[in-house]
Symmetry: C2
Subunit: 252 residues, 2 copies
DNA sequence: AAAACCACTTGATCCACATCAAGAATTTCT
DNA sequence: AGAAATTCTTGATGTGGATCAAGTGGTTTT
């Protein structure tokens, strides 16, 4: 998220074939020819600023979106003014899949920092996927993956302790940054403690206390949005829920 | 689930075009010709008995499945022997969508009672959907709907009280039975209290106590698996989370 | 640079729900 | 049918994390 781009974009036409995210994104596994055809329907607008909405719940659905830089929060506003944070999305990730169902968005998406996206008009994508079986297959896989990820989140919210939730959260970012070529152990989180808590089903205070405790236990160093993971293996132990994680140090 | 079939199957070839579930199921919105073609790839085996697995986590994925009678629980076994119940599925519902991602099942599915299913070999479905845009569209919609439903579940587990969870659970069954032509207010639940609790992120005891309390408050009558909803509007009030639900009527 | 605001932290208290425990009602086994 | 196991209910007690409250430090406004 707040990491510098390594690649210079000078003189490079913005297109899937030149995009470093292609292996994570919709073109994943497509032939160069197919990527070219997919590229033909993609729109690239100007970036969003922090706080701008990419779309809001009940907006008419026309495009899927892939984050190309920055980060995005999706959330569903609930009846009484509150919201449920549904996810934080990094470059290469596809959002808006929930809106296919009835042609209107069921949740909102907002930029957490300066953020660029590719827009993929869905009706065109659909037509294209009819004549490109590999694209169709890729779409099915991505939709299925989204389902699998939400399933994991159900287990997190249904069964895990606050400690396990935060460890899972941190390792998820660690892995995703690593996939994108950034440090797995040193990164900036673009969302607030409040948003983390909302996402994980915890109060802000609990999140704050856990950060402090993890730091006291030398699992990480944290200063505001900047996080350094010092003991990733032990964080994985915590995620497992086996209190053997605590053996190294102790606990009451 | 434990409701009698209204339609006699004598002399009716088992096929989508004669199936009373067609409007809820994959054929929804397809032309009769298209339904015929879809029907051509569907396999119908003999029924499963209570406790039989339709598939298990890590099984190779080959088919999606639609429940045609009975009911099914899906769950993901977690590391330490426990499980997270992911859903309870009624006739017309499609399961196995999470397995498309990498050709292997990520969760398990088990029959809660005598249960019949249609199997839809996925590779054939994929081929067919390439030449039947309306089927492709239907698939995208069903996958998207699944995502939307899991999203609602995230809010349930992240933000709702035990009371709200059980009310939501009951109304979900009420609506789904109604859609299927059964009573919205009088039905049998095929799963145990333990399974309900697991699904809702609650202890068995909490579920049991809530049933008792709802009964004391004349919201419903319950005897073992048999549930009669006596005040559906008030259950909806509870789902909203406004405690004005407890005043005889009204809304905050 | 002071003022106002906001995100975050830390401590004290509370409570919804888990856990523990024991009995009652059912179902399954022999 | 009787025994054993399972499921469900109910009561007593415990606790993880919410809520309440009061700073603290950083950021924006003027």
């Amino acid at each position: 998220m707040t990491s510098r781009k390594v690649v210079s974009f000078e003189n490079i036409k913005v297109a899937c074939k030149n995009c470093s995210l292609a292996t994570l994104c919709l073109p994943m596994g497509l032939t160069p020819d197919d990527v070219e055809r997919l590229d033909g329907i993609i729109k690239r607008g100007r970036p969003y600023h922090r706080g701008d909405h990419l779309y809001r719940g009940a907006d008419k659905f026309h495009s899927l979106r892939v984050i190309t830089s920055g980060s995005v929060k999706t959330y569903s506003p609930n009846e009484d003014g509150g919201e449920q944070v549904l996810g934080f999305h990094l470059p290469g990730e596809l959002i808006g899949l929930d809106a296919i169902q009835d042609d209107s968005h069921t949740c909102s998406a907002i930029a957490l920092e300066t953020t660029a996206v590719c827009e993929i008009p869905f009706s065109q994508l659909e037509s294209l996927s009819c004549i490109m079986p590999s694209l169709q297959h890729q779409m099915y896989r991505l939709l299925s993956r989204e389902i699998g990820q939400e399933t994991e989140m159900l287990t997190l919210l249904g069964k895990k302790s606050a400690e396990e939730r935060l460890a899972t959260f941190l390792l998820s970012f660690s892995e995703r940054f690593k996939q994108r070529g950034f440090s797995a152990s040193d990164f900036f989180l673009s969302m607030s403690r409040h948003e983390i808590g909302n996402y994980l089903g915890l109060a802000v205070e609990t999140v704050s206390r856990l950060f402090t405790r993890f730091q006291d236990e030398n699992l990480l160093r944290v200063e505001r949005k900047h996080v350094q993971l010092l003991d990733i293996p032990r964080l994985y132990d915590i995620v497992q829920g086996c209190d053997s994680a605590k053996s190294t140090q102790s606990r009451g």
